[in-house]
Structure formats: C-alpha cells, structure tokens
C-alpha cells in the first residue's frame, strides 16, 4: 500500500522486566495422605480447584474402565441423582469435570469463591460416594463408544496412536485412548470396584487457587475432604521401552487431502539439569510461530497451516513431538524440510540472538500462563503431580538464563537429531508413497 506512513523511529526497546509477585501459598498434608496446596490470587471472585489421582495401570481392561469412570463420576451419588448434582453446581455458579489419561484421573472445578465450601463438598461427595447407577452407565457406554469411533476418524488421532505404537510398542501408554468395543463391555459393578480401589486420597494432589486466604482455603479443603481416605499404594507401570529407529511408517487414509506428519522422540523431564536447554532448543526449532520450522514450511513454502513441536511430560518419561498437517502433494517435500531443520539444529550452533529470543519467549509465556487463576491452577497441578512446587516457577527464569548455545547444540544433538526420532505419516498412500520412498525406507500399513 502506498500511503503516508508515520516516520519510522525504530521498534521500541523493552522496558525493564517486572517479575510476577511472589506467590502467596500454603501447603497442608491431610491425615488421609492427600497433599493440598492453596494459592491466594485476587482477580475475578472465583475459585479454581484441580485434583489429580495417580491412575495408571497395565491391565488391558483398564483404559476402558478408567474412561467410563471419568464419564460417570458425576452421574449420581447415594444422596443425589445426576440432575440433582448438576443443579447443585449451577446454583453455586460452578462446574466440575473429570478426565483421565494413562497416568492419572483429574477432576477440575471452578466456581464463585463465596461458595468454595459447597464446591468442595460436592467434590467430596463424588469422591466418596459416586454411585454409578446402571441406567446411566449403560447410556454413557453408548455415548462414549460413539465419541471414540468419531475420534478415530480424525487424522490427528490416527497419527497419534500410530506414533505411540511406533515409539512404545505394546506399552500401556499406547492404549491410553479406549477402544469402543471394550467400553461397551464395562459394567457398573466394575466401575464401583475401580472407584473403591483407585479413587483414593493417598498420593493424590489438590490445588486450590482462589481470591481467598490460603489458610481459609486449606481449612475448607480439610473440612470437606476429611472423610475421603483409602488404602495407600498404586499399581506401578512398566518403564517405557527404549526407542528404536525404524523405517518411516505410512498409514493409508485413502482420499486424504492432507498428510499428518508426526516425528517423535524422547525428551527430558522438568527436573533434569538439561531440561531448560531442551526447552529452548525446541522453541528455536519449532515451538512457536517465529521458529525455524514454522518459518520454513508455513511462511516460506505454504505447505501447512499450523506446524508445531512440543515437549510433554508424563509420569514415565517426557516426549518430543513435531506435528504438521501438510498438503498431500508436498508430503515428501515437507518431510525433507523437516529433516533438514532437525539436522541443522542438531549439528550447528544456534545464534546468540535466537537463544535470547527463545529465553524471552519461555519466561514471558510462563508469566502469561500463570497470570490467570485457571492457568496458575493448571500449572501448579501439573507440577504437584511430579512433586514440584511453586518454587519451580520462581526458579525457572534463572535456569533458562543459564543455558548457553553449546548446551542447546548438545541436547539438540541428543534429542532432536532425525536419527533419534520415529516418523509416522497418515495420508493417501498411493499419492505420497512414491515421494516418501525417495527419502527413507517405508513401512506401509
């Protein structure tokens, strides 16, 4: 556009950083073995509650029962029907939702802070007395089975399952998403047994973030959840198998107008001394919009809409995943550019400028993510589940600042090099196989 523009005075420099206020928090371990953490955070007059219960199991029937337990946790108690529970939550402006993954059962709640005791009371009621009424269980079985069927028509879900199998063989982590047939076989009695054995206080963590004093919040927690107990000790999962580099796996999805490209490998847990370096290496490679990979395959080539690489943490290990959905006709070219960018960061040092940009992004996005009650509660709940506390948040900027370009090169060489990654492509095999074969050996499924 040719028009008069304001005289360019240069992009403004950053002012000195204002660090977040020190968190006002308190911890309490209940006699039952439940660990509770409360944080006072003014803002909106609400309370956020996050409960996490270790829930892993290597039993084959577990994923479907666990998924059904989460679906039916709010389906009624001895005192209240499903509708009674839902109405009680609405009356106090609150919501409660349960979800489950291979590691844990999570219950997230939020509501008006003035009614936090009522919200915790309803949480306690389902933790101690979820009834799993057979008609509700039957209904939820059908609904969940339908949803799982629909989920598996999504290329992203197919790609995730294929990648997990490639990475971990038959490990329980690969069975995280339940099978519809198994769900249809779950009974109310099985759910009651699973609830009795595993929905227990020892080992569980509860985080409350509210515009309320920490001690008051913890008193509410103790008063409401005092009666929730249960035996200690949970089933241990076998360790993840070591990764083996294998041919690129191509999963046929006939007629697909895009290919889901997924590369996965091992990453470092938060407590590892090299974790900050890997966080920054990932950001420079593909962890945000201005990263090398996104610049290359989206903004330069136009192959894809939202490529992104992530590091995620699980009880048994941390993983790196690079994910892009690319146009069918450029599938091989996109893999070639991806391999190029991974090879580059694994063999050549990043610039000091790139490192500084990644550092600022990492510290800034941490500050943004904990600036809301819900974001702070979610972050603290993730940390609490692996034994880390608010101090981790306070220390993280300094840990990131200490990373050098040599550190980034070393950890990228160990974790982002293409030779250390497993590759899966879900797409129209007839169209994409010839191109992919020019780059790698191919396993066609």
């Amino acid at each position: 556009v040719t028009r008069p523009v304001p005289s360019f005075t240069g992009v403004p420099e950053l002012a000195p950083v204002r660090r977040p206020r020190k968190l006002d928090f308190a911890e309490r371990r209940l006699a039952s073995g439940l660990s509770a953490l409360a944080v006072r955070r003014t803002g909106v007059p609400l309370a956020e509650v996050r409960l996490r219960i270790p829930f892993g199991s290597s039993t084959r029937s577990h994923p479907s029962r666990a998924a059904m337990l989460a679906e039916c946790l709010l389906a009624g108690t001895a005192e209240r029907s499903r509708v009674d529970l839902a109405e009680a939550l609405q009356r106090i402006g609150a919501s409660l939702a349960a979800s489950v993954d291979a590691d844990r059962l999570s219950v997230a709640g939020s509501g008006l802070v003035t009614r936090l005791p009522d919200l915790l009371g309803l949480l306690a009621e389902v933790l101690t007395g979820a009834a799993f009424p057979p008609p509700d269980v039957a209904r939820e079985r059908a609904r969940l089975a339908e949803r799982l069927t629909i989920a598996r028509t999504q290329p992203g879900v197919v790609a995730r399952e294929a990648l997990e199998h490639r990475m971990w063989g038959d490990h329980p982590y690969t069975r995280d998403l339940a099978q519809p047939e198994a769900v249809r076989a779950v009974s109310a009695a099985q759910l009651r047994a699973l609830h009795r054995d595993r929905v227990v206080a020892p080992g569980a963590t509860l985080v409350v973030v509210a515009s309320l004093s920490c001690e008051a919040a913890l008193d509410h927690v103790e008063a409401a959840l005092d009666g929730w107990t249960g035996p200690a000790g949970s089933a241990a999962l076998p360790p993840l198998p070591p990764l083996t580099t294998r041919p690129v796996q191509l999963v046929d999805r006939g007629g697909s107008v895009q290919s889901a490209l997924r590369l996965g490998g091992t990453a470092l847990p938060r407590q590892h001394p090299d974790s900050p370096a890997l966080v920054l290496a990932n950001l420079i490679f593909g962890g945000n919009f201005s990263s090398r990979w996104v610049s290359n395959i989206r903004e330069d080539k136009g192959y894809t809409y939202s490529p992104r690489s992530t590091i995620s943490h699980h009880a048994l290990g941390s993983i790196f995943i690079a994910a892009a959905d690319v146009a069918t006709e450029v599938t091989a070219a996109a893999l070639m550019e991806t391999t190029y960018e991974l090879s580059r960061i694994a063999t050549l040092p990043v610039t000091a400028e790139e490192l500084a940009a990644a550092y600022h992004y990492a510290t800034g996005s941490l500050a943004l993510s904990i600036s809301t009650q819900a974001g702070l509660a979610a972050t603290l709940a993730q940390l609490a589940a692996v034994g880390l506390g608010p101090q981790y948040i306070a220390d993280q900027p300094a840990r990131l600042a200490a990373v050098t370009t040599e550190d980034v090169l070393r950890v990228a060489g160990d974790h982002l090099a293409p030779s250390h990654l497993v590759t899966v492509v879900v797409g129209d095999a007839a169209s994409v196989a010839p191109g992919l074969r020019r780059l790698a050996d191919l396993d066609l499924e």
Partner: protein, 443 residues
C-alpha cells in the same frame, strides 16, 4: 480490579459484577481507545478490532476478510515479513488474529515491559501492511491448508457454521461461506487487498483496548505517539445487513466424507441485539436452559432420558458467542444422533421442550441457577488480561460501549421467567432453517 455485588431480590445468590477502571478517548484520527489498567500481574493485553468481517466481503471474494487478516501479519513499510511474530515472541508474548461475521480482531498478550513495542506493532500495520504478490500467494496456500485441516479433512468440519447461514439467509452478506471457496481465494489480488484495506482499516473504523499492568498516563503518551501519527481517512458507513425472514421451513443438507454418524442443526432468528434488550438476553438464557449441562432441558430429554443424541448444544452467534454479532443473529441448536431413523424424534423432542417451556413455564429456581453459572463463566472469561481487552474492545465496537459488558450481570438479572417463556413461544411460532449432515464416512 474491584468487584461490586449487585443483584435483584429474585436471585437466590447475589451475582458479582466486574468493575474495571476504564478510561476512553477518541484520537484526532477517529481511533477509539480504551485503557484498563490493572497492576496485579505483570502482563498486558493489546486488542484492536476493525469494523469489518465476513458479512462485508465483496461478491466473488468469499473468504477475503479472513485472507486479509492473514495478510496483516506479513510485514509493513517498516518491518519485513515474520518481523511481527519475532518481535512479539522474542518479547515473551503471543499474538493472534481472528475473523468474525461483524469484525476482525488482532491481539498481543505481552509481559508488561513490552507494552510500547506491542503498541508500535499494532500501529505499524494499521498505518499499512506490505502487500506483495509473493505474500498474497503464500497466504492463499496457508489459508487453503487451514481450510483442509479444519473442514475438508476431518469429520464435522465447519458444521454447522459454514452451512447453516446459507440455508437460513437469502442475501450474499449473510448467506455465503465465510471461510471461502478455493476459486474465490485463488482469484484474490493485491488490488483487492489494497481496496479492502483502504475501505475498512481506517483508524476511525477501529477500537483499540489496552488492559493490564501500566500507568495510564504513560500509556496515553505511548498510544498518542504511535497511533496518533496515522492519518485519518474516510470511514465507510456500515450498511444494514438486516434481512426479512422468508416464510416456511427452509431445508438444506451437506455431505461429510469423514463423519460416521448423522447430525442436524436448527436455525432460529432471534431479536435484534442492538442495545441488548431483555428480549435478546432472554434468548441468551433460553439457550442455557436448553443445553447447559446435565440439568438442562435438552440434555435431560435427548441424552439421558431417550438416548436419541450423543451431544446437543444451543447457542446464539455462529461461533457460540452471543455478543459478537449485530442483527441478524441466529440461535442454533445442533444435535449428533447415532440412529438415522431418530431424526424426526430429535426435532420433535426439541419442539416439545420449547412448547413445555412456553406452556408450563420454568421450574422453581431454574432461571436463577442457569443465570448464576452464566455470570460465573462470564467473569472467568475476563480473568486473562488479553481476554479482558478483547472483550471490552468487542463490546465497544459491536454494542457501543465497554460498560455494556460490565453491566451485563445486572442486565441479565432483569430477565424474568415470563421473558423466557415468551422467547420459547416466539421460536415455536416462526419458520426456521434445518440443516442435515449426511455421513459418508466409515462407521
């Protein structure tokens, strides 16, 4: 942030209302500016909304408002391509843009030490994006991949928002596909983009809202320094997109190559939202009464009692936000049902439930509990600084005042049972749009 406690005697629980320290000014070039300081966390939100959206696209250029939104990230007279993203992210921030039916929004969430940099970046592209053949072609390709990933390559992609307006409405602005036909997208030129920018991206056609950790006086100086220098231009008069509702039930269908199960969507016209009158707010709360969770009318009837559907939702506004569109606005009720033969029963149950509300009225406490949770969710949605700046900017643009948002809990308290029953009766009496999704995916 200070919270007042308001509420009327009819409410069993007194509803808190947000109260923000909002100051408002209009710059000489016509840009409306809101500053909302809050020093509790060291972050700022910068939101700019332009009064142009899907409804203003030229004929033959479906999807252009969204394509143009992408082009606003491609550099300017001062900054090269990718510089915007690099400056925001290397400052520790995040950014995005989104295209809606009646406006287009851009925002940055930043650590507060990057406030002036963020203001500069928004002002820089308001002054003029760099539009080159290369970036236009690149972003056409990116948008096509976006449509493939969100619509063409997944089950239920774009259902029902891409298709229901075409069944409901007759006129191009309201009825067309807002993501765009590939043919139209591929035909887009630099001349189109220049003309679109000139018409709709004038300072006086926009609202800037800055929320978060700053001193208001210092921020005014920065706003004036960066945005005040942009020359004023003529602002187009926004045409009315009002449309008479045709008589009779309007019917349409879409086939979905990936969906394993059928779905349907019903579209109903609701009153003009201008001024957010009680009649409009009654429809907002009626949608909650119908489908807000396990205690709602349609979840009880369709999911838990009859088991006819696996999921049902009722909402105002094509994207589920009842406060982001001007007239005409639709209420959509969408349902996913596994048994194709159940279609008539699903629609019959919706009608029966509306009839029950219209005839028998609401249950004791039903409106209060639904309203309480709606207000709590509204407050929760204002906790993030960036969401607050975006919401206030949107209310200033679409509803003529940011205070309309802060007054909303009180306005909702004015809705009575009789208003809800009248709304339900109105929906029953009118003609409507019915969209069927025909599944052609593997089950």
């Amino acid at each position: 942030v200070v919270h007042s406690v308001g509420g009327m005697p009819s409410t069993s629980l007194r509803l808190p209302a947000p109260r923000f320290a909002i100051t408002r000014r209009v710059l000489d070039n016509g840009l409306r500016v809101l500053l909302v300081p809050d020093r509790s966390t060291p972050v700022v939100g910068i939101s700019v909304v332009y009064d142009v959206g899907i409804r203003s696209e030229p004929q033959g250029r479906t999807g252009f408002a969204h394509l143009f939104e992408h082009l606003m990230f491609q550099g300017s007279a001062n900054l090269e391509k990718m510089a915007h993203a690099r400056y925001v992210q290397s400052s520790g921030g995040s950014f995005n843009g989104s295209t809606h039916f009646d406006y287009t929004e851009y925002h940055e969430a930043l650590p507060s030490n990057a406030l002036e940099r963020g203001l500069f970046l928004e002002a820089d592209r308001m002054a003029g994006p760099a539009l080159t053949e290369e970036t236009v072609q690149n972003q056409i390709a990116v948008v096509k991949e976006e449509i493939r990933v969100n619509v063409l390559n997944r089950p239920y992609g774009g259902f029902p928002w891409l298709y229901l307006p075409g069944v409901m409405y007759e006129t191009f602005p309201n009825a067309h596909n807002g993501y765009g036909d590939f043919i139209d997208l591929e035909a887009a030129t630099i001349a189109d983009a220049t003309s679109f920018f000139t018409s709709y991206y004038a300072p006086a056609n926009a609202v800037l809202c800055v929320a978060g950790d700053f001193d208001a006086n210092a921020a005014w100086t920065m706003v004036e320094r960066h945005f005040g220098a942009i020359p004023a231009r003529r602002t187009p008069r926004r045409p009315s997109f009002a449309e008479q509702l045709a008589d009779g039930q309007r019917q349409g269908s879409v086939t979905d190559q990936h969906a394993p199960l059928p779905a349907l969507a019903l579209g109903f016209r609701v009153p003009d939202p201008a001024g957010l009158p009680v009649e409009y707010l009654a429809h907002v709360l009626l949608a909650e009464i119908l489908t807000d969770g396990d205690a709602s009318r349609l979840w009880r009837a369709l999911v838990h009692d009859s088991g006819l559907v696996t999921d049902v939702s009722a909402y105002l506004g094509e994207f589920g936000d009842p406060f982001e569109e001007r007239d005409p606005v639709m209420m959509t009720i969408s349902a996913f049902y596994p048994e194709p033969a159940a279609r008539a029963d699903v629609i019959g149950t919706v009608d029966a439930e509306l009839d029950r509300i219209a005839t028998d009225g609401l249950l004791d406490g039903e409106l209060d509990r639904v309203r309480t949770r709606f207000v709590a969710a509204l407050l929760r949605g204002l906790d993030a600084t960036i969401d607050r700046s975006s919401a206030l900017a949107k209310f200033e643009l679409v509803h003529g005042g940011a205070d309309v948002l802060t007054e909303l809990p009180r306005s909702l308290t004015g809705v009575r049972d009789a208003d809800i029953t009248a709304a339900a009766r109105g929906l029953l009496g009118q003609s409507r749009a019915v969209l069927d999704l025909i599944p052609e995916g593997r089950s």
